[in-house]
């Protein structure tokens, strides 16, 4: 790597050649504010807050737009710079509504934070502020199905415009009018219609673009815990952070406040899609399965204990003989779960185990602009590649739909007496299940066991229901569509008596008299590593590290350091962190 050395505020800084002065400052922990620059959206040079003094240049320079050169001497704190920068901050606020107390961005707002750090003490503006759509909350207008827009708060950094043009690939946002009247707009006020719309809230450095999903739901200081994890809603496996709300006894509602993308240049860059971001209500919903259920004869299901449920399971399997047992796994099952269940199948069925397991998933073609740089794949499950590695599906790469023909044929032929379904995914993750419900009701399947997380017609038709954990409730590994092994973290516990799915499988095995010698999921991973050491997509599984919940205050230190740009000002309290890679763009 070719580097250049320059001096910023007397400190010598070495950066990769081609980087800008602003990037050099950020990398070395020197405080320079910025709005229009965004590491994922490039340079615009329009906000003018990143002014610095560079020796031998008569005028102040915007540091985002000057490439660092060998021997350059940069000052960010001379009286001239401080004064000029404060002047720009004064301009940014003269028309800002300053409604921070009711703004979703308040508390994690670069405009707020940088203004405190670099702005003037007060404003000299005495005229009425510019008002676009109305004052106060009336300024919040629809901005498509997922977003709200408040033009009074906008500082016209055009990050949103550039995101739509350069990342989404469909330039739906533009600026209407000019000069003092400039406003963010969509054609015919249609709002933003994009699978990536939630990212606009992230890139907006003020509270102008907010998501309907997170609106008024929490404040940053009410989210004291952050957990780095991955999204499992499709095979892309975006790296994410989940934010947990403090949940005192009296507070109603969910603990999971929101999910935001976490930078990974190899997987998702700075972004994630709306499915992964907004589809979280089910996790802590009333529809979660939280205790074991059994049905005796044709009665209704009743809640019961784990012991009783497992006894019932043993009785059903015993009644039909394990040779008529089949397993249907959702590709939302992790490596550990798939591996343990297939081990159990081997113990019960010997050589026929392979054929007894079928993996299913849902697929949907996402409608996205042709030139998007962030495409969401059609497979809506995290571990289809994993199922392939473990030999549980023979559907070839590139084929989006699962192959259930063998299982369906066997069910039609009446060969399946007990069907054991494992599905820790959200509703619909097995694809069509009406045929299973139908088979159970007509008696072609004698007994149906469901290990899952959500109420569904399938769960309702089951004879035994074993409540499991979803992806934010357990540490588990998945291999994404690129063949990259990634892991989730345990952010919250599973509801009620629900258990981690690996431990359910171990209990089931014990109940069926074929115990698996696993005391933890780590044992399963070690076993996978031992038996499948040759698979690149499973490499390192035994040593997989799982992120732990951290106090939000320390999250920036604890998390991927490349995230620091996001909470631009939190870094003031933090030691310098290097984040070269983030600045590669």
């Amino acid at each position: 790597m070719e580097t250049v050395a320059l001096t910023i505020d007397g400190k010598s800084v070495t950066v990769e050649k081609g980087k800008t002065v602003l990037q050099a400052a950020i990398e070395s922990g020197i405080k320079v504010p910025y709005y229009c620059y965004h590491p994922g959206l490039g340079i615009d040079g329009s906000c003018r807050v990143c002014l610095v003094k560079i020796e031998k240049m008569p005028k102040l320079q915007v540091s985002c737009s000057v490439v660092a050169a060998e021997g350059m001497v940069v000052q960010t704190e001379t009286p001239e710079v401080v004064q000029a920068r404060a002047g720009v901050f004064e301009f940014l606020l003269i028309n800002h509504p300053l409604d921070c107390p009711v703004c979703d961005k308040g508390g994690e707002c670069p405009l707020q934070d940088f203004s405190y750090a670099f702005g003037p003490k007060g404003s000299r503006m005495e005229f009425a502020r510019r008002v676009f759509d109305g004052e106060g909350v009336r300024a919040d207008v629809d901005f498509g199905p997922t977003l709200m827009l408040n033009r009074n708060r906008c500082i016209l950094c055009t990050r949103c415009v550039r995101f739509m043009r350069d990342v989404d690939g469909d330039a739906q946002i533009g600026i209407a009018d000019r000069g003092y009247g400039s406003e963010i707009a969509t054609f015919k006020e249609e709002g933003v219609h994009s699978l990536l719309s939630g990212n606009l809230m992230d890139v907006c450095p003020v509270g102008a673009i907010t998501t309907r999903e997170y609106r008024f739901k929490s404040r940053p200081w009410d989210n004291p815990t952050a957990v780095d994890t991955i999204c499992t809603l499709c095979e892309k496996g975006c790296n994410t952070t989940v934010w947990l709300k403090a949940k005192p006894e009296w507070a109603k509602g969910a603990q999971l406040a929101r999910i935001t993308p976490r930078y990974n240049p190899e997987v998702n860059g700075y972004w994630m899609c709306d499915i992964g971001r907004f589809r979280l209500a089910w996790i802590e919903s009333e529809a979660r399965l939280s205790q074991p259920l059994v049905r005796e004869g044709n009665d209704a299901q009743t809640a019961t204990t784990w012991d009783h449920a497992l006894d019932t399971l043993k009785r059903l399997v015993g009644a039909h003989g394990s040779e008529h047992l089949r397993f249907l796994l959702s590709a939302h099952a992790s490596h550990e779960e798939m591996f343990a269940l297939s081990r159990l199948a081997r113990q019960l069925l010997g050589d026929r185990a392979q054929q007894s397991c079928t993996v299913s998933w849902a697929a949907s073609v996402k409608s996205q602009p042709e030139h998007t740089t962030f495409s969401v794949p059609p497979i809506d499950a995290p571990n289809v590649a994993g199922a392939r590695l473990l030999g549980l599906t023979s559907v070839p790469v590139g084929e989006a739909e699962p192959d259930l023909s063998a299982l369906r044929a066997a069910v039609e032929a009446g060969e399946v007496r007990v069907l054991y379904v494992l599905d820790p995914g959200p509703s619909g993750s097995l694809g069509d299940t009406a045929w299973i419900v139908d088979a159970r009701q007509s008696g072609r399947i004698a007994s149906l066991v469901l290990q899952g997380v959500l109420e569904s017609p399938l769960a309702a038709a089951a004879d035994v229901v074993l409540p499991g954990a979803c992806f934010v409730e357990k540490e588990a590994c998945y291999t994404n569509g690129q063949g990259r092994l990634q892991a989730t973290a345990r952010a919250i516990p599973p509801p009620g008596q629900a258990l981690d799915d690996c431990s359910i499988i171990v209990r089931v095995a014990a109940a069926l008299g074929r115990p698996l010698d696993y005391r933890s999921a780590a044992d399963i991973r070690a076993d996978i590593a031992a038996t499948r050491s040759d698979e690149p997509g499973l490499q390192g599984i035994a040593d997989m590290a799982f992120a732990q919940p951290v106090a939000t205050h320390h999250w920036l230190e604890a998390s991927n350091p490349m995230e620091r740009w996001k909470w631009d000002v939190m870094f003031q309290d933090l030691p310098p962190v290097k984040f070269e890679e983030m600045l590669k763009k």
Partner: protein, 431 residues
Amino acid sequence: MDPVLTKHIGEPNAQTLDFSLQHGAYAGLRKALGMAPDEIIDWVKKSGLRGRGGAGFPTGMKWGFVPKDSPKAKYLCVNADESEPGTFKDHVLMERNPHLFFEGCVIACRAIRAKVCYIYIRGEFYHLQRVLETELARAYEAGFVGANILGSGEHVDIYIHRGAGAYEAGEETALIESLEGKRAQPRLKPPFPAVVGLYGCPTVVNNVETLCNVPLIFDRGWEWYAGIGPDKNTGPKLYCVSGHVNRPGVYEADMSVTLRQLIYDYAGGIPGGRQLKAVIPGGSSTNVLPADKIDVAASFDGLVQAGSMLGSAGIIVMDETTSMVWVAKNLLHFYEHESCGKCTPCREGTDWLYKILSKVERGEGELRDLGLLFSVADNIGGKTLCPFGDAVVPPVASTLQHFREDYETHVRVGRPPLPPWRAQEELIGAH
């Protein structure tokens, strides 16, 4: 100096090809076609021609920045957006001497190895578009523009594009954006247009008057051209004199001419025998000069020395009845309206200045508002993305500097100080 650029503009049909040919049009082109591109650039350098668009940048040097060996297409963009308040010279050249203009375009294209020239005329110049198109068709027919020009093998196409009427579209990179079909907002520099311009290709942006000077250099030789006017301020220059003068209009002179001569000799002095109060010498973006500073050469360097700029040579003359607060407010109204809004200081600051000035002009201001005006203007100047921001400062800062009394009177009594004779009249009326 005998007019060269505008010699025949008052004659009937001066714009036509026949008329132009009778008066020597395209003679410079014939000579330039026999010269290599580098030689053409060299001549222009030696002529001392400086850009007439505002900054006075040496034209030959600008052309020399275009990378010769770039495999990309090269473009010439003509800045015919002429929107600076007080400026109306390019207009006259295009309307009355279009063939001189086309001739300059073709020579410039040859110099920078461009095959295509876009003439970007301002949105309001609809009538000019028609004149230019008619005459351009004639020039094509006669073989002065198009393929194999005058049998030389040189190929230059000229297209006329009319903008949508934004002052900022005259800023060279905003002009390029607008030509590409985008909002007329400036680009970050560097890269400069000479390297990355229209459609990402090397591009020269020149003013109309600049290009109209080019044929003269070849027709009569660079030595002749360099001999006109003072050192480093060579060649004929057009001045637009407007405001409180008896004969407002476009005047041609060499740059040794003084502001006083332009106001009193060329434009016939101030009506009604009133006294001169102030002059804006180079379009609204230049510092206003008080009446005692007009004995200076109206040249690039002369006006810089006098504390202002030649700019677009739009000389706005104001007599003693003029309130300089009103002038500043009026100009800020223009800048507030025309700011493209891309960068923070200009978008927010121009409007703020306009509001403060309006308040002061109405007589509702306080003395501390005058300090605020200075400070806000200073927070814009030098901090913006394009020179528009710098152009906002002069109307405020220079009127405050030279005419503080006007401001203070507005603050005190809600109107400007009266000229002595008005004060007399009021006294008489009061009795």
